[in-house]
């Protein structure tokens, strides 16, 4: 029983990791209906920027903020330069461009910072609370908390700020929005910028756990995609719930299906993606996609 509880807790902690990046996927999908395959790599790149700033002796908070700002700039810049020409084209073109971006960011990071593992500091104390034999570290609690805060911020932004409402309008009905004077293109860029910011926060939360190197977000990105798809790729709350469900499921399968389960954890996450897409593409909380013909 204690074993089960420990596995659930550590699954929730992993879920926090997945949810944080899943939120970034949700933002881009909300803005333009695609999945940015470079999301994880952009998050990785900005985490490296934060690491470089920390190496100069800058305090954590300043480095964190600067990295988030840099992420926003990268997100907007990327959208304006290479996504804009394909944003009205076929989905395929966007997919390929984001794959190209992922390759570029990964290669750049490798060339600049090399591939040796780097420790990245955590903003949370290295303490562990034990409740009835079940250990929970402050790091885990911090991760889960960060995902929840980001989710609430996203909700507030889209529901209660003018610009958030305009962004939603631009994504839902670009033609009318444009007629009403909304600069739809810049709204998309804003969506990419925000997604990159959320990704940067995610990267800086994940790096202390899985350690920093150019490939460190790749596996996380896959689980995060599973979380986003499960939650309904348009829903911030769905992404967080999806993250928790994926984290716990994968852990329990790993624990109770013996050695096969342990090495097929990734397959479980992928099976979740495939099953959700086939059975209920709108996920747990997403709105069903009304296709116009």
């Amino acid at each position: 029983m204690r074993q089960l509880a420990q596995q659930v807790v550590s699954g929730l902690a992993s879920g926090g990791i997945f949810a944080s990046l899943a939120l970034a996927f949700v933002l881009v999908h909300r803005a333009m209906g695609v999945v940015n395959f470079a999301q994880g790599e952009i998050a990785m790149f900005t985490t490296f920027i934060a690491w470089s700033l920390l190496e100069t002796g800058m305090p954590y908070a300043a480095a964190f903020l600067l990295a988030v700002v840099a992420a926003f700039a990268i997100g907007v810049g990327v959208e304006r330069t290479v996504i804009r020409p394909v944003e009205r084209g076929p989905v395929l073109a966007t997919v390929i461009v984001t794959i190209g971006l992922a390759t570029v960011f990964n290669g750049l990071a490798g060339a600049i910072w090399l591939y040796m593992l780097k420790a990245f500091p955590s903003p949370f104390p290295a303490r562990t609370v034990t409740v009835d034999g079940v250990a929970i570290s402050d790091q885990d609690l911090g991760l889960i908390g960060t995902s929840l805060v980001v989710m609430v911020l996203m909700y507030a932004f889209f529901q209660h700020t003018r610009i958030g409402l305009v962004m939603r309008a631009a994504a839902l009905d670009p033609v009318t929005s444009r007629l009403l004077g909304v600069r739809v293109g810049w709204m998309l860029a804003l969506g990419w910028g925000l997604a990159a910011m959320v990704g940067a926060v995610s990267g800086m939360m994940v790096a202390p756990v899985v350690f920093l190197e150019p490939n460190f977000m790749q596996t996380v990105a896959i689980y995060a995609l599973a979380a986003a798809v499960l939650g309904g790729i348009d829903s911030a709350l769905g992404a967080v719930i999806g993250g928790a469900v994926v984290g716990v499921t994968v852990n329990l399968v790993g624990t109770y299906l013996g050695s096969i389960g342990a090495s097929l954890r990734l397959v479980v996450a992928l099976a979740i993606i495939i099953c959700v897409l086939v059975v209920r593409p709108s996920g747990l909380l997403g709105r069903p996609d009304a296709q116009r013909v």
């Binding site: 076929p90 390929i96 794959i99 190209g100």
Partner: protein, 362 residues
């Protein structure tokens, strides 16, 4: 309109086919073995890309899972050769058929998905394949992989020449079959499904059936390509069929051009030679060949949305237009035949698709 277009194509195809055959056969005899061998790899890519072009270009489905079907074919062939002592040549059709079966099984649920959702689902498939292969130890020997001794060369040819001719021969046959398939009822139905699902459905086309069939055909090509790859590399293991392979195939399809039958050939040459050549570029190339690869990929998509084949067609259109403008009318009726019409046709098809996809997304 489309009938006339295809009639032009048929005549042209015969000539092109004959020229292509000569072109294909010469490198094997003229070039050094290692180049022939690299070209054989390109032939394998061409086959896999052809499968994807059929799926994406002519049925409108994006797949990031071609590597998984290549794994089915590659492992089927490797297991039959290494443990059951089959002749490699006999394993080719088996690999193709087995992959087709898997393709149809995947295609049935996948037929319900479109656009980015299908891309995600197939991406998951390509990631899951290596993990599953590692676990199926009794069959696949796990992560250690299977060593295959390559098939002995035919006649007086060297190993590389023989492999090269086999790969491109198979690619050529499949290309011709594909062209014929697309020209017929089946192809028209597929394109109808791609251009407008609702319209196709209302004219009595069984949309899911055609989508699943397209998946099966695409998987057949991938399976055959996988088998050829196992013979070329002389080795299969799960890492040989990782997600990077699926991505390479998709990249090849897009760079070559998904709307054309020349696309797979050009795309294959691109994905085969770019990573190797990128390493020859001093400084950036040696430090980060990936950066060059990624940038080139983005550039091609931005500058040539119809791929290299589209660029080539456009260049040919200009050249022909120039010839038509500068040739006296007396040369006969052939000179009047306005080649740009064909291009216009292609452009129309592409425009229609772009418009359609944009609409769906909004």
């Amino acid at each position: 309109m489309r009938g006339a277009l295809l009639a032009i194509r048929r005549r042209r195809l015969l000539l092109l086919g004959a020229a292509a055959l000569c072109l294909l056969a010469t490198p094997a005899l003229l070039l050094p073995d290692f180049v022939t061998y690299d070209l054989a790899y390109a032939g394998v890519y061409a086959i896999a890309i052809l499968g994807l072009v059929l799926l994406t270009g002519f049925s409108g489905q994006i797949s990031l899972g071609q590597g998984a079907f290549m794994a089915v074919g590659g492992y089927a062939s490797a297991i039959l050769v290494a443990t059951s002592g089959w002749s490699f040549y006999l394993t080719l059709p088996v690999a193709g058929v087995l992959a087709t079966v898997v393709g149809i099984v995947v295609g049935i649920p996948a037929a319900r998905l479109t656009g980015i959702y299908l891309a995600l689902a197939t991406f998951a498939l390509s990631l899951a394949a290596p993990a599953l292969l590692k676990e199926a130890v009794p069959l696949t020997n796990g992560a250690r992989g299977i060593v295959v001794s390559s098939a002995s060369p035919v006649g007086p040819l060297s190993q590389e020449q023989s492999q090269y001719l086999l790969c491109w021969g198979v690619a050529g046959v499949l290309l011709v079959v594909a062209v014929n398939l697309l020209r017929g009822r089946f192809g028209r139905a597929l394109m109808a499904v791609r251009d407008s699902e609702a319209a196709a459905r209302s004219s009595g086309i069984n949309v899911p059936l055609y989508r699943a069939a397209a998946f099966g055909i695409s998987a057949f090509c991938a399976g055959v390509a996988g088998a050829l790859l196992s013979d070329l590399a002389g080795f299969v293991n799960p890492d040989s069929f990782g997600p990077q392979l699926s991505i390479s195939v998709l990249v090849g399809a897009v760079v070559g051009g998904v709307g054309s039958m020349l696309g797979p050939v050009l795309g294959a040459l691109f994905v085969e030679f770019l990573p190797i050549r990128a390493q020859d570029i001093p400084r950036i190339g040696t430090a980060a060949p990936a950066v060059i690869e990624g940038l080139l990929l983005i550039l091609v998509v931005l500058m040539a949305p119809t791929g290299l084949a589209g660029l080539l067609a456009r260049a040919r259109g200009w050249a022909r237009g120039w010839v038509v403008r500068h040739r006296p009318r007396a040369t006969g009726p052939r000179g009047v035949e306005p080649p740009p019409a064909e291009l216009r046709g292609v452009a129309m098809v592409i425009d229609a698709r772009v418009a359609e996809e944009t609409e769906v997304r909004q």
